[in-house]
Symmetry: C2
Subunit: 340 residues, 2 copies
DNA sequence: CGTAGACATGACTGCGCAGTCAGACCCGAT
DNA sequence: ATCGGGTCTGACTGCGCAGTCATGTCTACG
């Protein structure tokens, strides 16, 4: 059972035996603790290499009380925004040395975010990231690890929640101001589903831009992020002659809207200007090339994770200072001054 | 330390004490073992509820030798295909009861897939999914868990590898045949990066469709999946008057290609027909509405995970039989009979 | 009425590691 | 020579659970 045939996976004691040290010293080497002589370190690493030793994470977690992993509540959608944020989170997590456990909240899932968080806690995580939060009313889960909520009030979680600044409101504001600066008398808004905090932020930014200039607020239409919904509710906007500029809460809906406008024989941008949100990769190649704002997903993901890791490792320290990510408006061919 | 103040998180012994049973019986209840009386089960569950007990996964993994988690090697990209597949995998994993650990292989990452696999093994997983494999030449990692490779020869992994049938070749074939059926004398191919197995499959399917009808094979241009690359290499196709039909290896590149054609004053579909691949959500809303083929990501992800879980839990049993997923061609407005 | 078998529970143990503490050794300063 | 502190190492232990085996109880059936 120890020597012949298919050998069992080696333990740290095996490495210790080969290296001629104690098991504890092997542990020291693998945890990069100080006070291990260079000679011993080398011997241990060689022995480990020779045996194909791999630290057992379960045992490590049990002994140390830390899992070295972070749970992510994702959305179960291939939408560009959420998917990009998830990618950014993964990238950022790599750098921090934490592994990632990912769970979805399907729309259909009645348990929702609370259920996903529960399941992550069951799995054992040192921290939790809620990627694209949706307002589900009262969500109360007893969470005893730090929680990072991207772009939503930390109301979700208890005392140990931190928020990373997506600042969709600033981007929405820039998009709206771009249209106003072109001379449009007002800007309509094709909003995202208002259960999403990010959709609310975009609406708020649009609202603030109008308010700044003392402009009345046209009525809002709401889609579900999909191009199909943009097309559906876009027909309403297309039928309204007073509409000359629309800020859509994401690029997909903007594309649906443009189709609706086209079918209503309204030219973009000659008759109606459209600004999207996200700068999806095809935005620069459709007709007309779409003016939009870009979210710095990687930067946001990274600073967010830094906050979270800080909260995990130094629970008593002050929170890290954060600066707002830059606002990037990408002006292309779907916006122009109003007609007349 | 046990009673006053911030109480520690409860253990199974605590539950046992409250329920008046042994720790082992608590374990039995939480593992749904047989031979626990209904009364005891209820008492245990109530005690657990009351204490807010949560099974400690690390301890469980250590004691049982199973982590109940599956590692996913993802691509670190928000491309629609890979992102959708990942979503499908997450959904499917939920049903199987396995947790998901996700790692990326960034393009820039020299360690590549092998590094990602290593890192998953370090974390401890019962099985591994390689989501969108790229040929990286000789990849040799000693893997002692089953590996599921989507749409690539199992050459990647050792004896315990299984493959799930994306069958991109069949879809590519259907796309090509659609164009031929419309009367085109030949079909050009805007290929994906050939290091990706899925790009190769699409090329193979296209090639097979041409070969079936004894048609010569036009030269292939290759992009990198992005709309930008589709535009770049698309200009070459656009400049060639003999091109009347193009099968693009994904929708993004098709969109870039359409822009290139438009700029070359070639109408789509009147002069040139274009078929994409993926059916991204905006495909139905751009101009012209894009004809494309759709991959059944959810179904593929699900059957794949079933295979993997089967391999994990019944290592000695025969592999499950698999049937090819259906081929779905979505005909819209970017294809038409050839000019003249 | 005795016994085989199904059912139900508990005592004991070890999974593989990191935390704790106790040394042993070394150096420079007294 | 003596001491204090920094450096290096090992013995012992316990993290919280599931595996194993022993034990006890309750049927069913000859």
């Amino acid at each position: 059972m120890t020597q012949l045939g298919g050998r069992p996976t080696p333990r740290s004691v095996d490495v210790a035996r080969v290296a001629g040290v104690s098991q504890k010293t092997v542990s020291r080497v693998f945890n990069n603790e100080q006070y291990v002589s260079a000679a011993v370190r080398t011997r241990v690493l060689e022995a480990a290499e020779q045996l194909g030793y791999r630290l057992n994470n379960a045992a490590r977690a049990l002994a140390s009380g830390r899992t070295r992993s972070i749970g992510v509540v994702a959305l179960g959608t291939a939408l560009y925004g959420p998917a990009s944020l998830l990618v950014g989170i993964e990238r950022a997590a790599r750098e921090t040395g934490y592994a990632l456990r990912v769970t979805n909240t399907a729309d259909s899932d009645p348990a929702g975010v609370a259920g996903a968080v529960e399941s992550l806690l069951d799995q054992g995580v040192d921290g939790i990231v809620i990627s694209e939060p949706i307002d589900e009313g009262e969500v109360s889960v007893r969470v005893d690890v730090p929680v990072l909520v991207y772009g939503a009030p930390a109301a979700f979680a208890g005392a140990r929640a931190v928020t990373a600044g997506v600042r969709a409101d600033l981007l929405a504001r820039a998009a709206t101001e771009h249209l106003l600066d072109l001379g449009h008398r007002t800007v309509h808004h094709l909003a995202g589903p208002q259960r999403w905090y990010s959709a609310r932020d975009r609406l708020e930014g649009w609202r603030a831009a109008l308010a700044d200039r003392g402009l009345p607020e046209p009525s809002v239409v709401e889609g579900d992020w999909s191009a199909a919904s943009g097309y559906e509710v876009g027909r309403e906007l297309a039928a309204d002659d007073t509409v000359t500029a629309v800020f859509a809460a994401n690029d997909d809906m903007a594309i649906g809207l443009i189709r609706a406008l086209r079918e209503a024989r309204r030219r973009v941008p000659a008759d109606v200007s459209v600004v999207g949100f996200d700068d999806i990769p095809v935005a620069d190649f459709i007709s007309p090339r779409l003016t939009t704002v870009r979210q710095p997903f990687d930067a946001v993901a990274k600073t967010g994770l830094e906050l979270l890791v800080h909260a995990i490792e130094k629970p008593d320290a002050d929170p890290l200072p954060v600066s707002d990510p830059p606002v990037e408006l990408v002006v292309r061919a779907s916006t122009a001054p109003p007609p007349h």
